[in-house]
C-alpha cells in the first residue's frame, strides 16, 4: 500500500474502534453501515478529498458533506473528531443527555449546540439528497465553486423522495453535487433484494441522466480515483460504493442483523481486538 493510503487506512482502523466504543458505551446505535463506510469517510476527511478546515468549520470555501442516512452518525462523528473538529472525548457523549452527538445528526445555527462539521439534520431517510440539492442550487446561484457531497444508503433508495431529488438535480443541472450510495445490500430487516428489490440501480440512475461510477469502498486507490474523477465530471455523477457492512469485524461482516445491534461485552472485546490487530498489521 502506498504511504499516502497507509496513513488514511490506519486512521480508518482507529475510527472503526471509536465507532464501536461509542455504540457500546451508549448501548445503542448502528454499527453495520458505520463500519462499512469508514474507509470512504477516512478518504474524504483524513485523505482530504474534501476541502475543509476543522479550525474554520463555517469556512465559506469548504466542500459540504450531507449525510442522508443519518443512522450511520457514529462514522461521521468519529471521523470529525479524528480530524480535529472537536475533542475525541466528546465521542462518548453519543446518544447521552445534553450531548451535541445526537443519535441522528442535528444541525443548528445556534453556536451553543452546533456540532462543528455537521452540515444537516438527517434521520428520516430520503431527505439528505434534496437538502444537498438545495445547497447545490444556492451555490450555483452565487457562482461559487464549492462541491456538495451527499452520502446515502442503498435501502434509502426505496424512498420516493430520493427519486424526486434525482429528477430535480438533473433538471437543474446541479453538477456540483456528487451522490455516493453505500451499496452494502442490507437493511434493517434483511438483505435489500429480499426486503424491497432496487432492481438495476445503475441502469435506473443512468436513465435519469446520471453518470454512474462504481467504487470498491475498501480499496483506497479506487476510492481516491473514483471520487477525484467525480469531482472533475461535468455530468451529474453518482458513485455506487460497494461496501461490506460491518467491515473489519469478522462476525459482523455482511450480516444484516448488525445494521442496528449493540455487541455484548464479549463481542465488543473481540471486535476491538480484531480491529486493533488490523491497525497494527497494516502493510
Amino acid at each position: 500500500m502506498p504511504a499516502d493510503y497507509k496513513s488514511v487506512s490506519k486512521a480508518a482502523w482507529q475510527i472503526r474502534q471509536d465507532i464501536l466504543k461509542m455504540i457500546y458505551h451508549a448501548q445503542s446505535g448502528h454499527p453495520g453501515g458505520s463500519l462499512g463506510m469508514t474507509d470512504v469517510f477516512a478518504a474524504l476527511f483524513v485523505g482530504k478529498l474534501l476541502r475543509y478546515d476543522p479550525k474554520r468549520p463555517t469556512w465559506d470555501k469548504r466542500d459540504y458533506l450531507f449525510l442522508s442516512n443519518g443512522h450511520i452518525s457514529p462514522v461521521l462523528y468519529a471521523t470529525l473528531a479524528k480530524v480535529g473538529y472537536f475533542p475525541k472525548e466528546e465521542l462518548l457523549t453519543f446518544r447521552q443527555l445534553n450531548s451535541r452527538l445526537q443519535g441522528h445528526p442535528h444541525f443548528t445555527f445556534n453556536p451553543k449546540h452546533r456540532l462543528p462539521g455537521v452540515e444537516n439534520s438527517s434521520g428520516p431517510l430520503g431527505q439528505g439528497l434534496s437538502q444537498a440539492a438545495g445547497m447545490a442550487i444556492a451555490l450555483k446561484m452565487d457562482q461559487k465553486k464549492n462541491k456538495v457531497f451527499c452520502l446515502m444508503s442503498d435501502g434509502e433508495q426505496q424512498e420516493g423522495q430520493i427519486w424526486e431529488a434525482y429528477q430535480f438535480i438533473i433538471h437543474h443541472k446541479l453538477n456540483n453535487l456528487i451522490g455516493i450510495i453505500d451499496y452494502n445490500q442490507i437493511q434493517i430487516s434483511g438483505v435489500t433484494k429480499d426486503v424491497m428489490s432496487l432492481g438495476n440501480l445503475k441502469l435506473k440512475l443512468m436513465s435519469f441522466g446520471f453518470k454512474v461510477l462504481e467504487m470498491d469502498a475498501h480499496d483506497f486507490e479506487n476510492i481516491f480515483q473514483k471520487i477525484e474523477q467525480a469531482k472533475l465530471e461535468k455530468q451529474n455523477t453518482i458513485i455506487l460504493a460497494h461496501s461490506i457492512p460491518g467491515k473489519g469485524v469478522s462476525f459482523m461482516e455482511k450480516d444484516y442483523r448488525w445494521h442496528g445491534r449493540v455487541p455484548s461485552e464479549s463481542e465488543y472485546q473481540q471486535a476491538i481486538k480484531e480491529l486493533a490487530i488490523k491497525e497494527k498489521n497494516l502493510v
Partner: protein, 326 residues
C-alpha cells in the same frame, strides 16, 4: 363612489414577493407547478434565477428549501396547504428541528379550492403547524395584511407558516382604521363589553359584519383578529374574555384543533389565576367532517362560515353566560 376591489390573501402575498424580490436578494421562491395559483408568476418573470421550479414533488421541494436555508438564503416554499405541509410534514419537521429560516406558504387553505373538493381543502394545517416547536404561524385576514405579514415573515429568523386563501375579500380597512400589524399580537379591531369574537383569516370580516348587526340590537361586541396563531397572544385572549365573559372563536379550520382549541386551552389555564369568573365559549369551524365540491360561496354558507352563524352563536353563548352568572 369608487367600487372597492376584492382581493384574496394570495394576491397580497404575490405583491409582497415582488417587493421582496427587489429589496432582499436573499429571498428565493420555490413552487410545485402552481406559480399562477400562488401568485408567483410575476416574481418568476422578474427574478427568474431566484424562482426555483420544483415540479409536482412537494417532499423534495421542502428539503431543497431546507438546503437553501442552510446556505442562508430565505426560501419561500409554496404550494397548496393540503400538500404543503400536508404531504411534506416529515421534511418540514426535520427543517424545523434545525431551526432553519424557511417560509412555508400554504395556499388555498380552507374552502379556497371549492370546486376541487375535499382532497384539496385543508382544515388541519394550523393544527399541524402550531404543534411544531419554533414555528411562527401567520394567517392574514385580507390581501393588505397578507402583504404586510409576508414582509414581516421575511424579517424574522426562523421557520414560519403563512396560510393563504383564494376567496376574494373586502379590505378590512373598509370597517375602520386598523392597528399596526405585529407578529404575536392580536389586533383589537373593535372594542366591546358583552361578547368577544376571536377570529382569524376570512372569518375576521364576518366577525366585523356580525358585530355591526349585533350592535343594532343593542349588544356591545369586541372583535379580535388573530393573524398570529403561534406565538398566540394569550394576554389578549385573557384580557378580552375577562371583560366580556363570552367568547366565540371563528376560524375556517377544524375546531378540535387550531385556534379554537388553543383559545380553550388558554382560557382553561388562566381560570383561577388571571381569570376569576367563568367564560362561556362557542366556536365556528369544521367539526369532524371533510368538505366537498361546490363553489366557494355555497360551501362557506353550507358549513356556516359567515356572519349569520356568528349571530346564531352569539345567542347561544350569551345564554350560557347568563346561566354561568346566576
Amino acid at each position: 363612489m369608487s367600487e372597492i376591489k376584492l382581493k384574496a390573501t394570495r394576491d397580497g402575498f404575490g405583491e409582497a414577493m415582488l417587493q421582496l424580490g427587489k429589496d432582499n436578494p436573499q429571498v428565493v421562491a420555490l413552487c410545485a407547478d402552481l406559480s399562477d395559483s400562488l401568485r408567483l408568476s410575476e416574481f418568476k418573470k422578474n427574478f427568474p434565477s431566484r424562482y426555483i421550479e420544483c415540479g409536482v414533488a412537494e417532499q423534495n421541494m421542502m428539503s431543497v428549501g431546507a438546503g437553501l436555508a442552510l446556505s442562508e438564503k430565505i426560501p419561500f416554499i409554496a404550494s397548496f396547504a393540503v400538500f404543503n405541509p400536508g404531504r411534506n410534514l416529515d421534511q418540514l419537521r426535520v427543517a424545523t428541528y434545525s431551526g432553519l429560516n424557511i417560509k412555508v406558504v400554504g395556499g388555498y387553505a380552507g374552502f379556497g379550492n371549492g370546486g376541487d373538493g375535499a382532497t384539496h381543502q385543508a382544515f388541519e394545517d394550523l393544527a399541524i403547524m402550531s404543534s411544531l416547536p419554533k414555528m411562527t404561524v401567520l394567517v392574514p385576514a385580507d390581501a393588505d395584511q397578507a402583504l404586510g405579514l409576508t414582509l414581516l415573515a421575511s424579517q424574522i429568523v426562523g421557520p414560519c407558516y403563512l396560510r393563504l386563501g383564494r376567496v376574494d375579500l373586502e379590505p378590512l380597512s373598509k370597517f375602520g382604521a386598523l392597528p399596526k400589524i405585529e407578529i404575536g399580537q392580536a389586533q383589537v379591531l373593535k372594542k366591546g363589553q358583552d361578547l368577544s369574537i376571536f377570529a382569524t383569516g376570512l372569518m375576521v370580516q364576518e366577525a366585523l359584519k356580525a358585530a355591526l348587526e349585533l350592535e343594532k340590537i343593542g349588544m356591545s361586541v369586541e372583535v379580535l383578529n388573530f393573524h398570529t396563531i403561534k406565538p398566540l397572544d394569550r394576554q389578549a385572549i385573557i384580557k378580552s374574555s375577562q371583560k366580556t365573559n363570552a367568547v366565540i372563536v371563528a376560524a375556517e379550520h377544524d375546531i378540535n384543533s387550531g385556534l379554537t382549541s388553543l383559545v380553550a386551552q388558554s382560557l382553561a389555564q388562566a381560570m383561577g389565576q388571571e381569570i376569576k369568573e367563568p367564560v362561556a365559549l362557542e366556536s365556528i369551524g369544521m367539526n369532524n367532517t371533510f368538505g366537498e365540491s361546490a363553489n366557494n360561496q355555497d360551501l362557506l354558507k353550507k358549513y356556516h362560515f359567515n356572519y349569520l352563524e356568528i349571530i346564531n352563536k352569539a345567542k347561544l353563548v350569551l345564554n350560557k353566560k347568563k346561566r354561568l352568572s346566576l
